[in-house]
Amino acid sequence: MTDNTLDTQIDLVRDEGFYQTNLRSRKFRGNLWKNFFLLAIIVAFGALLALFYNIANSAFGYVVEDYAVNPTTLAPDGNLSALREDELIAILLEYQERRLPVYIRDYVFTGDPTQFTTLPVSEVLAGKWYPPETDALTIRDLTPAQQAEVLERNMDQAQMVTLITEQVVDPVVLESYTLVESIFNRPAIEAEFQEEFVEQGATLYFTSWVNLDFLTSPLSNNPAAAGARTAIIGTLLVVIVTICIAFPIGVGAAIYLEEYSDHQEGHFLTRMNRIIETNIRNLAGVPSIIYGLLGLAVFVRTLGGVTGGRTIISASLTMALLILPVIIINAQEALRAVPSSLRDASYGMGATKWQTIYKVVMPSAIPGILTGTILAMSRAIGETAPLIIVGASTFILFDPSSLQSRFTVLPILIYNWTSRPQPEFKNLAASAIIVLLVLLLILNATAIILRQRARKSLAS
């Protein structure tokens, strides 16, 4: 470079006009980007608000409810739970005399339903109470009073209340309104109620579809009685079992890959490990439905004898496979982020490899590992596709009682409810979404608290 061109360059650096012109465009570009980032956050926040608006709109609002039999006529203030067993049985006998054998079959009998009416009472009700000297008769031969007594002696009071609520009171939602309508259009709702429904004896009241009954009631085809308990229990069991399987395996694999698998360049094992790592990264991107097919083939079919087929344990094993790559990758990152100076310090003291990993590397990596686990858990809660394939039920009456029980989960329940024709199920679906979101928050909060405690113990 000659002195001449060097001088021109320096002149430009000294040129105040050139500096000022460029300064304006530099600041303008900076502002442009800043506004774009602001816009991005506004769009994201708007989308979140729209979601909450939509859910809340369906989950709360006025409903018009009617009963086959108004509960106030059965019990003081309509409170059935306050009644004694004999009073409840009297109600059943009065309103549902002809259906008593059906209730015995559903609530007392435990055998094969096809043989219920043909077997003698002594076999049908073996081990249960039944009227004396009726051993040889069938259920149909008993008088209604005897049938009622069988129910009274073999059911508890809470079961009877549920039974009467569903079968005698039989609440029906005639009309439901959205939250926005309920708040801004109240006079119109009341006018419509007076005009169309009041004569039938129906009632209009403001309700939250998410309530204690919703959380504690089992699934039902009757929207007024349906709850999400079975699906909540199913979701919790699947997620917890999934994490219990995937966390130790995932963290173990990450520790092996990061701490033990180092070999010299060109070594056979180095290439093996690299292939394994690449595959794990690719597996994280495989569509979840593929995992569902794998779970169906391996856990439901091949290992059906152990897992019991379409059960919680099959679903959890499938989910564990699905989230393993996420846990492994995040744990690897966390382990890699531990400064090598800490490892050197430990080895320099004469620590063995395992002592170094256990006492120095793991404590520093745990917060990062838990962050990855939180991400994985959130994914496991929301996943639906693989569970449909491995056979989560869309409708079951019984709560899962063991790892080999059939089950359903909240996302599947939501999907099922949104596809039903009755409009009330839309309200129920919105409520189930709220429950799912709250469940997600609770589980994440637990993991975050654990992480904060691990961080604190590092810093103090």
């Binding site: 360049e265 100076s341 800490l342 050197d344 320099g348 003291m349 004469g350 620590a351």
Partner: protein
């Protein structure tokens, strides 16, 4: 597996560690060639030399820290208490328990001061609270840190100042009572006052331990070291303008000799500040 001997056999004489024709390779690349040094017991030996001359590499060869670097390989013999540390059946874990190390950048664990010191003894299986308390107190006193931290033993080691952290690391190394302490530029990140504290500490520790220190600071070597080894770089031109470089030991003598009347002309130029 034969245990690394804790005490010197009668035959080993005054040397703590003897390096015989030590060559260090990183993969195929020769890093240090043919180093022969006898390190005197309970003396401070300083390794000096320009950047890239392999002085840290040789230091890390003394307690097999190079084993942790993928592809690193040491040829030759490092004799400690009559045993070749690179012989068969020698467990590097045992070597490092006898020959401790302090690093360039202070690296306390993200644990309390107490747990930092107790780390080594706990590794060895010491569990008794009273015993650990005693070791912690003795080690911190030995590192001239006790008076400054005795009321904050539960505080994080990371909350200390840079100089205090480095003294904590020295106390941590001392806690398992090694035979030799290796220090890899322990003062390079410290201010002059903290450096002075560490140098005083080294003069005190050398009454009990053998110390080997790598330093960039020639005044420091002059101030603290009894013996000094000067390393330099040799290079060989390859074709296409590339070259191959490796470190060699140029001169090893008592510090006064190295600085006042070096035998080698290259040493004299380096001491005189002509390169490096």
């Amino acid at each position: 597996m034969s245990a690394v001997k804790a005490t010197a056999p009668a035959t080993s004489g005054a040397y703590a560690i003897e390096l015989k024709n030590v060559n260090v390779f990183y993969g195929e690349k020769l890093a240090v060639k043919d180093v022969n040094v006898n390190i005197q017991r309970q003396k401070i030996t300083a390794f000096i030399g320009p950047s890239g001359c392999g002085k840290s590499t040789v230091l890390r060869a003394l307690n097999r820290m190079n084993d942790l670097v993928l592809g690193a390989r040491v040829a030759g013999e490092v004799i400690y208490n009559g045993q070749n540390l690179y012989g068969p059946n020698i467990d590097p874990v045992e070597v490092r328990r006898r020959i401790g190390m302090v690093f360039q950048k202070a690296n306390p664990f993200p644990k309390s001061i107490y747990d930092n010191i107790a780390y080594g003894p706990r590794l060895l299986g010491i569990r008794g609270k009273q015993q650990l308390d005693d070791i912690v107190e003795r080690s911190l006193k030995g590192a001239f840190l006790w008076d400054e931290v005795k009321n904050d033993l539960k505080k994080s080691g990371l909350a200390l100042s840079g100089g205090q952290q480095q003294r904590l690391c020295i106390a941590r190394a001392v806690a398992i009572e090694p035979d030799v302490i290796l220090m890899d530029e322990p003062c390079s990140a410290l201010d002059p006052i903290a450096t002075q504290a560490i140098e005083e500490l080294m003069r005190e520790l050398v009454k009990t331990y053998t110390i080997v220190i790598v330093t960039h600071n020639m005044q420091q070597a002059q101030r603290v070291a009894d013996f000094t080894a000067f390393f330099s770089i040799r290079k060989e031109m390859l074709n296409e303008g590339k070259d191959r470089r490796w470190g060699v030991l140029v001169e090893y003598a008592p510090t006064a000799t190295i600085f006042n009347s070096p035998a080698n002309e290259e040493t004299e130029r380096y001491i005189g500040g002509e390169f490096g």
